[in-house]
Symmetry: C2
Subunit: 656 residues, 2 copies
């Protein structure tokens, strides 16, 4: 029966690809036995409750194997109809080209960009360890004890992000993480020996992983390996030696990787597996058997979870609300927090650290860490402990200098209902963009804290001074970039961000800023608002964000005092929000006048607000190394220079 089920998964997969005229048959034929073994012998997942919190997670890191995944789900009775398979890769289908979280049922994470899956799985496994330690009954029975399984290919392991995540997983002893490595030594461009000759298992062992090697066709061996993995206190990688496109005329060749097979080849494969040569043939007996096996095992675990849950609540009635809110992935509301405000100038990174500490005190699920910069980004949660292999009870994660894995691990934790943040310098946001993009695509509410947000970094020079980062982050769809000017706007940004199903980026300053008398917590939700009204006859408006807001006010004061020009200053903590406000609100805020935009970064994305290129007080060249004031001067960004740049515009107008 095992063989019949595997054969049917394979033929359905290649039929889907044939029908779609698009897809990746190589992995379907090569890795079907691995996926079948995992699902038939290990996965605990409830077909009637896809979001059951203690379900095992399966991540197809090799996301191009989506046909294999959907075919397996179909045969396992997990949320897919034959019609769904027939619509593979068609618009509006559940069976999206690559597995899409929120679109494709039972898909735990959107995958496709290689390496991300392993790293997100690492986050889910870490989440499992945290939950396991947090929620135990009096007899030390864990409420949460799920496993996270990954199927990955050579491509995943070549990506640096997987090396980062695996090193992290090894250090953190994530023994609930089991990676099945589909080792077929073929990638899109050919044999991997041309470029990938490392000893993967040895590399993993060096990173404190348990390693096992098996024949990828031998389901008993795979089963035993998974069993063994569950007995060790390390993450495990099981290298399954497979043949890409097994059974196809193109078996073992890179040409079988990413194109539909010929009709003759499909017929050949079906004959090989004694499957009737008709499109989408289903062996319903096989399907029922597979479905039943999983259901029966899972139901047992599901009921056990329910029992433990009730026992836990009985023993800890005061924690029921917490647990329920977690399982329902409820938003954090910070309306009740009585935040304090600084009495002296301080940097927004420092102010933000204080705000975050208050939020963390209120929500047990608000946690995160830094890519080895917490002493600079100020995101450490004081007196709330660290998360390490010695104890997962804390709230501070030490990601190491691994920005990219940090982003993906945050994705994994958010997919496990944690409210998470990660921090680094704004300029290094470039290192984790692919992970942020996935946060956005999956509608995950994640908080990226990026400090040292402009050339005011000074001495560290251009490699550490962001220029294009604000613009390029704002350009990511479904992403909010906040650049608050003081504590009030920081609080407002958090209030807004915590309610949104999207990643929120906080760009924060290294240098001190004053608490403005006119800043407003609630008006952050408008994207931009007036922080300084013109005294009379509006001469112009300066739109600014972050550190530049207080600077703009000073410039406006100079212009009034020295030049009798009356400027309005608009603080724009979030361009993304402001752009989506009504035209009338935008006009009301900006005024019917010359509009300047002052931001210590790229003009890209700000032209829509600025009256012309001349009124863009921005920086489109790289920064410099030197004292903050000298760098500002070199880039024409001191208050005096900014004032002159504004006056120049009026000078030109005057001459007309």
């Amino acid at each position: 029966m095992d063989k019949r089920i595997i054969a049917n998964i394979k033929t359905l997969g290649i039929d889907m690809i044939h029908e779609a005229e698009s897809g990746h048959p190589g992995i379907v034929l090569g890795a079907a036995p691995i996926l079948y073994t995992l699902f038939s012998r290990h996965m605990c997942i409830n077909k009637d409750d896809a979001s059951w919190m203690n379900r095992d997670r399966f991540i197809l890191s090799a996301g191009h194997g989506s046909a294999l995944l959907y075919a397996t789900f179909y045969m396992a009775g997990l949320g897919y109809s034959l019609e769904d398979l027939k619509c593979f890769r068609q618009i509006n289908a559940k069976t999206a080209g690559h597995p899409e979280y929120g679109v494709s049922p039972f898909v735990e994470a959107t995958t496709g960009p290689l390496g991300q899956g392993i790293a997100m799985a690492t986050g889910m496994a870490l989440g499992g360890k945290i939950l396991g330690e947090r929620y135990q009954t009096s007899d030390n029975t864990k409420l949460f004890d799920y496993y996270v399984y990954v199927l990955c290919g050579d491509g995943d392991l070549m990506e640096g992000i997987s090396a980062e995540a695996m090193s992290f997983a090894g250090t953190h002893q994530l023994d609930n993480l089991i990676v099945l490595y589909d080792s077929n030594q073929i990638s899109l461009d050919g044999k991997t020996h041309t470029t990938f000759t490392e000893n993967v298992l040895q590399r993993c062992a060096a990173c404190n992983w348990h390693t096992i090697e098996v024949d990828g066709e031998d389901i008993d061996a795979i089963d035993l390996a998974i069993q063994e993995a569950k007995t060790v206190n390390k993450p495990t990688i099981i290298q399954c030696n497979t043949t890409i496109g097994k059974g196809s005329f193109l078996e073992g060749k890179n040409t079988v990787h990413g194109k539909p097979l010929s009709i003759e080849d499909i017929a050949n494969i079906k004959q090989l597996h004694s499957i009737l040569d008709e499109p989408f043939y289903v062996d319903f007996e096989a399907k029922q058997t597979f479905t039943d096996i999983i259901y029966k095992r899972s139901l047992h675990k599901y009921q056990k979870f329910t029992d433990i849950y009730h026992q836990f609540i009985l023993e800890n009635p005061e924690r029921e609300i917490e647990l329920t809110s977690f399982m329902h992935n409820q938003e954090i509301s910070i309306d009740e927090i009585d935040f304090s405000f600084p009495t002296e100038e301080e940097s927004t990174r420092v102010s933000n650290g204080k705000v975050m500490n208050e939020i963390a005190k209120m929500s047990p699920f608000f946690l995160g860490g830094s890519a080895d910069l917490s002493s600079s980004t100020m995101t450490y949660l004081k007196d709330m402990g660290d998360i390490s292999c010695h104890s997962y009870l804390g709230k501070n994660i030490w990601f190491g200098v691994r920005e990219h894995a940090m982003g993906a691990i945050l994705n994994g934790l958010a997919l496990t209902n944690f409210k998470v943040f990660g921090s680094t310098f704004l300029v290094f946001s470039d290192y984790l963009r692919p992970a942020i993009r996935l946060s956005a695509l999956m509608h995950l509410s994640i908080f990226y804290i990026f400090t040292h947000d402009s050339i005011e970094v000074g001495e560290d020079g251009p490699t550490h001074e962001p220029i294009e980062q604000l613009a390029s982050l704002r350009a990511i769809p479904n992403t909010l970039v906040f650049r608050p000017c003081d504590t009030r706007e920081i609080i407002g940004s958090w209030k807004y961000a915590l309610k949104k199903k999207c990643p929120s980026i906080f760009a924060l300053s290294r240098g001190n800023v004053p608490l403005l008398s006119s800043s407003d917590i609630d008006k952050v939700s408008l994207g931009a608002y007036v922080v300084r009204k013109e005294k009379q006859n509006l001469s112009g408006t300066i739109v600014a964000s972050g550190t530049e807001v207080s600077k703009a006010i000073k410039v406006a004061e100079m212009l009034e005092r020295e030049n009798n020009l009356f400027f309005r200053v608009v603080s724009m903590p979030c361009l993304n929000i402001f752009k989506n406000m009504s035209k009338s609100y935008q006009q009301e805020v900006l005024g019917d006048t010359t509009i300047f935009v002052m931001e210590a970064g790229s003009s890209c994305g700000l032209e829509g607000i600025s009256t012309s290129t001349k009124t863009l007080l921005t920086i489109d060249t790289f920064g410099r190394s030197g004292k903050k004031q000298d760098v500002m001067k070199a880039l024409a960004f001191t208050e005096e220079q900014l004032k002159r740049r504004i006056l120049d515009v009026y000078g030109v107008k005057h001459e007309k």
Copy 2:
């Protein structure tokens, strides 16, 4: 004397940091013996000819150790004065906050963003292997036989990019690459054991590296290790066990990493090393000794190189021009190439592949590869061989699924005067942004070929469909993004790009486009130009790029035929160039009318051209999975829909 020199390097380094009130003393005190050993016993570098092509390269991957580097250079007589040291981290100083290529003499690459240095060094080492095999005299003496040395820290090795590069270096047997690993088990946030417990040497061994472990204070041991490294046919990593901030009161603590030391501590360290306690004290005898050692050894090698060079030219007079042009890093001119043009519609990725093959035939130094997507990006150079450990004579590099390392390796090759390209899908440009940023910062002429440049990718879905990538790449300072519409514009883009000291990005289509009768090779240099004139009374202008140009022309034809509206179409192959053209040229091209911008990507950066947000025919949401036409329709991007969106604008106007 060794000790005296090392001591003086250390005290100068901490004096610099004290004077600058900024910098990283930890590595100065911890790694000075390593750097001293390397420079005094191995480096061949000519103080009078910094760009000597056969010099050994040293890359400070841990770029924050710049004070150590400059102090060493000063003591070694390499291009720095005491005054330079006193201006450390000040504006316009040679002694920039992090080592800057082109600013700081003898600095081979800009470093600071961790991990990049190792990967760039990998590129330089690969360059060395290519040169070594290409240029040999009749008795097999290599003209180029330099070594590439790297000093890296824990942070570098945590970054995924270093794992990618090291796996590549191992596979390619870059035995001229020697990494000195300053292993102090401390990073900015604390001890590395919280997050970095892997066995680095074992991991490297798994990647086909030779590994050695030494005491980082023992200069003879370090020397011997480097000698040993030179005897094996693999890259070598030498783990030098050090103590961060050695001799400081803060020795061994993370607090010594990144802040100036106290005056008391500086006095203490000077006393410890018997150095006079005065600022910037120099032991001139020590300085002279160090300078002489390096100079003497290097001069010998330098003269030998000159001899071999002459012998080579004598034996191969026909290759003198080639070699000279290479050593002078001369531009490639393609004016003489007689390119052919397609007679049928074809994708710009295919057209570009043909153009690149022609360029490659002409220049021996034009080479590159793909991150395992050459069969999709079409950048394979036919009949020009592969670069592998078996032979470095070819021109195609197999980077593997390692976009980030690819970018950095390209940087390393470009720093070695090669004219290089790398390719992947546009959406995955996110994986290598930090490397592209360094290409731009270092003014390197590198060609990034990014194909599958829009939602027309279709079935692969949103993970594979770029939206924000064009905008975010255009926002990088000193970077050109070309999105040519056909073969003529591709040729024009190359003509322009090959002459510029900056990275050039080519965004190319998966789908077919026609060769336009009105497209123009030379007008690419204007950034944008008219490809379709309005028949009469200009109704509006559509600015488009790439695939959208022929689409815009069709829409314009429909509008003329069906609605009697007369549209001009402007092709804009390079927004970056167009933005810098004169206002009068811009106005001449765009016309005094309503200006639409049609681009299958983010509106960010295009608002400056478009008349209003309503005239932006762009896509600010993620793509979808489905057939190309269905995806286009879902995102309102079919020709019919685009026409209607344009008519809507006129309808609104009409109603006014």
